[in-house]
Subunit: 371 residues, 2 copies
């Protein structure tokens, strides 16, 4: 026998970082179900069911709802690359890592990008969007992050959606860290393109990107003059596989679809509203505890799914994370950008959002910080 | 409890189509190991091990060896989009679906594409490549499919590699249906960019694309004048995550990496040479049996991993596939392109390449075809 490396032996973590979150045993069991072919009738039925479950979680009737075969960032790229043709104008709201990323993706897709900026940790004001739309009346798409994972800011969308549609543009929303944990209403809020990841509030391993496109977004794709720059993410072909034609495009990540389907079943068994309420309650409990330890939240409007707090002056934040990981098996996240070395990002997403996890983390922090 | 859909209940297939192949229980068990964070020291160690195992399976010392977070076609797109800048000349060898796809991908990436064509089922002749290189002396990349899954043709590469390098171009090879089942020698054959899929001869579920890039390919990427058009697949950023810097790019498909690592361990425990010999022996056994049933192979040089045979005149090929699936749980593939409705594609890949599967399929075909 050739020497390779040891058998897999993984620690059992408690995932309270910016994602992935803890995966329920039912989802891991589904992931390990026997692989079947991507055109097997049994698999096509699973795709249909997954699509139906995704529509319910996105709160949409959009026909064009699917799981893109990549992680959340592939969902971002799929939305942008399909909606944008070289020379199109796109406004991108930037108040953290993921808005910055969206502007970069749009630039690479050939868009003429207008940034609508806010300080990291703050949300984008409707007035700023209105001003950008006035300055650039040919704007085709406005992109915005609902749940900015780098700062914990929770972006209100309804007023901005009204402005975007009044200007005749399409609204593209990043719901990576909100879908399945905070309220996301694709149809009510008139979101034209929305993407998420599986590994946040859906508590499925990373590897797929749920995406939904409104009829207006699909019409924009259908009226393109040029081919989509990405073959892999071309929705005009993907829809023929997810639709009744079942035209082979690429080999779907079969087992990941099993896992996503099971994760969505769990979300809907709990119910979206009770699930959102659970995230609110556990966030409130954590917040009260963190503030009683003297920790300060960075965003004015915090997500319930991700808690970004400043590390106290004089504390080696990396050492605290290391102790949490080594002594408790708890993962929390570091700060990014201007908050690098200065903040912690504590996720309470999906299966990780429990009273048990909140109270354990608070107890551990109290000991480590000697408060 | 909200109504969703039934718990997962999958049939146990025998996967003898063009992929996925049967996944060993050890790989499914690894897939279902607890999810950890994509920056967890335990996961980073697994990435390093996976990279080392990939190098051994690719038979390369290339530093830039990784698993792209998408299926095989994402591997194709990753190689092309990183190597090609708008206006670059690329020669693409086309003798089936996957060469056709590579030409489409290259066109979308902005390449000026020269097709080197051969009839479907035949291989590309070195003379045709030499002629294309002579006609287009500024050719930067030559793309070719080692194992054309749509026709079963097995492409020799050594002579073509010599021509490509004599002309100062880079050689890009699709090894989706050969890696881990047929001989693939990245360094010996001087392949500059090579991609594969996990779900063929590696017998891991679909979802990742092993990719390796030679130092010359990396140098070409480093000397680009424009940004890579895909953010998600940009190797200059991916290498910072796979390398020692560990800069966050996107959330890796953690559990899929566990599975790929285990699948590669199994490949190397068997040994590449014995494994290739097993694929040859089972192919010879199947071939003798199919020919004794009066079936004819379509390609002159057949792969051992995929057997493309003409369906007999007057036989409803789809009905035969349906009976195999329903009565035996055996999946085989349909013909594509000019062979649609006229051929079967029988995979003997990885864990599916066994005497038991060969003899069962032959017995079933004998009964169904009444031979």
């Amino acid at each position: 026998m050739t020497e390779t490396c040891d058998p897999l032996d993984l620690p059992q973590r408690i995932l309270m970082g910016p994602g992935p979150s803890d995966v329920p045993p039912r989802v891991l069991a589904a992931l390990a179900a026997p692989t079947v072919g991507h055109l097997d009738p049994a698999y096509l039925r699973i795709m249909d069911q997954t699509r139906d479950l995704l529509r319910r979680v996105f709160r949409t009737a959009n026909e064009m709802t699917l799981a893109v075969s990549g992680t959340g960032s592939a969902g971002m790229e799929a939305c942008v690359v399909n909606l944008i043709e070289p020379g199109d104008e796109m406004a991108v709201c930037v108040n953290g890592v993921f808005g910055t990323r969206m502007a970069d993706v749009a630039d690479r897709c050939g868009a003429s990008v207008h940034k609508v900026e806010a300080e990291w940790g703050r949300v984008i004001e409707p007035d700023a969007v209105a001003a950008a739309l006035k300055a650039h009346p040919r704007t085709k798409v406005v992109g915005i992050v609902h749940a900015e994972t780098s700062t914990g800011a929770h972006q209100p969308l309804e007023e901005i959606s009204r402005l975007v549609h009044d200007a005749g543009a399409l609204l593209l929303v990043d719901a990576v860290t909100s879908l399945g944990g905070a309220d996301v209403r694709v149809d009510d809020w008139r979101i034209d393109a929305c993407y998420s990841g599986t590994q946040k509030c859906l508590s499925c391993p990373p590897g797929l990107a749920p995406v939904t496109l409104s009829p207006a977004a699909v019409a924009a794709i259908e009226s393109r003059k040029s081919k989509v720059r990405s073959w892999y993410l071309d929705v005009s072909m993907l829809r023929q596989y997810w639709g009744q034609a079942r035209v082979y495009h690429h080999t779907a990540p079969v087992n990941m679809t099993y896992a996503l389907r099971e994760a969505l079943r769990i979300v809907l068994e709990e119910g979206l509203d009770p699930r959102i309420a659970r995230h609110q309650a556990n966030h409130a409990r954590l917040r009260a505890g963190l503030e009683s330890l003297g920790l300060r939240y960075i965003p004015a409007r915090s997500l319930t799914t991700l808690n970004c707090v400043a590390a106290p002056e004089g504390v080696d934040e990396a050492a605290v994370r290391r102790r949490l990981l080594e002594e408790y098996g708890i993962e929390i996240g570091a700060g990014l950008g201007p908050f690098k070395g200065k903040a912690w990002r504590i996720g309470l997403m999906g299966h990780s959002s429990t009273v048990r996890n909140v109270d354990l983390l608070l107890a551990a922090l109290r000991l480590i910080l000697k408060r």
